[in-house]
Symmetry: C2
Subunit: 340 residues, 2 copies
């Protein structure tokens, strides 16, 4: 690899001068003519600065780590894409890491990434209680949470306006005449699971529904299998006229799993029961039935998180939380209350 000293020699200047000429921020300290000579030399030698040496010297790696639970969950690719794009604009690179929600793995990887001198972290793996993250945040590690937040709201975050989304779902369902609406709740150790559940109950109450008619079933995870199990339980518990006519699942995967349980039970969606999800994961329009859900601008969340993080890195300030709007997407899995 050609080094800075090679460029300097070719341009007939000292390496220090070449460095200044190459760096746009210090270029003004070098005569226009020298700058040109250095630039030409660098170009003709195909000089590519060694980021490792630069990082060692400046203590800035211009790398940001992205922590996600699992890239094969369709929720995350758009976020990563958004982060990566926003980073690239500023000359930063993205180190991607999947943690599988495994605490040990997460701790190991986090330490490793700190050792790699990552300038900051975009974190999609937060649990409400998260000693590792809380500690790192307290230590001043630049960090922005996406989607999920900590109970102690002292860490910058970018999330969807989930409350608004849940409200919209409940309004939609009550508008269709539903008075018995169940919620398949996500893991309560995640802020998303908690907020959606709480907002669901609040919204139902505001809509004048009897709390006894808005049961909540806890799913064991944000997965299709958990959705099926939760719906099975719902159908086993509430029979006959007690059976809810609509279900709000805490996310799309739960909703898809719930649809399976419904079908296995011999019930049709939406004729016998309406089902709504959350997130608007890809390809939902192609499913049977196309799922009513809340669109969350995942890519934008990722991009905003990256921008916020770079700002934190450059000039630490008080933590900010950004809430991005989300919108109900009405499809065919929700419909009017069954008659009779």
């Amino acid at each position: 690899m050609t080094r800075l000293s090679d460029v300097a020699r070719a341009a007939g200047v000292h390496p220090g001068t070449a460095s200044r000429a190459l760096n746009p921020d210090t270029r003004h300290r070098v005569s226009a003519e020298t700058v040109k000579r250095v630039l030409v030399a660098a170009e003709s030698l195909g000089y590519q600065p060694n980021s490792v040496a630069r990082a060692l010297r400046t203590r800035r790696s211009r790398m940001v780590a992205i922590l996600i639970p699992d890239l094969t969950n369709p929720l995350f690719p758009p976020i990563v894409r958004g982060v990566e794009e926003a980073l690239a604009v500023k000359g930063y690179s993205a180190l991607l890491v999947s943690t599988d929600n495994d605490e040990d793995k997460e701790a190991r990887l986090f330490a490793e990434l700190r050792g790699r001198q990552c300038d900051g972290f975009v974190v999609a793996t937060a649990r409400r209680k998260h000693p590792l993250l809380a500690r790192a945040a307290a230590d001043g590690v630049p960090m922005v949470l996406v989607n999920r937040v900590l109970d102690s709201r002292h860490t910058p975050s970018v999330t969807a306006d989930e409350a608004a989304g849940v409200h919209a779902v409940v309004r939609h369902l009550t508008g269709l005449g539903h008075r018995r609406i169940a919620h398949l709740a996500g893991p309560q150790e995640l802020s998303t699971g908690l907020i959606r559940r709480r907002t669901f109950l609040d919204s139902c109450e505001q809509a004048g529904l009897d709390p006894r008619n808005t049961p909540v079933i806890d799913a064991t995870g944000f997965s299709e299998a958990a959705g099926t199990a939760a719906m099975d339980k719902l159908l086993a518990t509430y029979r006959g006229p007690e059976r809810p006519t609509a279900v709000f699942a805490a996310n799309d995967l739960l909703a898809l799993g719930a649809l399976d349980a419904l079908a296995a039970f011999g019930l049709r969606c939406p004729e016998d029961m309406s089902v709504a999800g959350f997130n608007d994961m890809p390809f939902l329009t192609r499913m049977t039935p196309p799922l009513t859900t809340v669109h969350v601008p995942q890519q934008e969340i990722g991009a905003e998180a990256a921008r916020m993080l770079l700002k934190c890195i450059d000039q630490p300030g008080p933590p900010r939380s950004l809430l991005l709007g989300c919108a109900l997407v009405e499809r065919a899995s929700t419909g009017p209350v069954p008659q009779g």
Copy 2:
């Protein structure tokens, strides 16, 4: 951050000794007792080696870059996941980059990543002619291609055994009685597009089909929109008894788009026309109709590519190509030839 010299001081040894004690490969050159003292000191100080300094000194960053066209294409997340996991096992980290098939962007990012001293590249963006990659490979940059390969087969690669997959599809369709089978071909500048097309034609010929009855329509990309357009063209071109009774789309996205065109044309799948895809992207079972396709072990491809790359980095050798088996997945989008 605590440095090696801190650990050395705490253990009462010279930094050089601490370094040897910490490194498993050189540990045997240090007395067992000293090793223990250093390890204890490192542990109690929470020492995390500075990978940047190490990389500068050893000229090994232990980072690998992954180049993909677009993470939001459901094909790629499993690959990335596989790569990342296999890398993590060996203490390597993954830098992820999306190129959007934009040559300039790709060249810029590639140069940037080389500047970051990435030890190697897993490349999912190869076109058949690819000066940038050919050049880099010739320069000895460690690199493994996934899914797509170069025309000059001099670069290591891990791909699905596409020919076998295409054969299986054609056999499946002819077994169902189809004698008029069309192919919606992918971009011919990609090896996948070319191989699938060629193998399709070969297989049909081997099956004794009249070449006039196995038309090929070129799609402009591997996308749903391109699939719709290609199917529109097919339906406009071959009418009445000339209309194929089955279509093999070069990938699942094309097939999904084709289904839309079919529906818009008032034709049912599979009653009026069978449709098969390729790749077995996620959630295909939930679509209407569930798509018959060829399963490609994307995550395994990623993992094998990463392992192959690490081997190349450690001990360069002649390029190897690994072909992973893929399997037909029969679902409901293919059926017997319509009667009459």
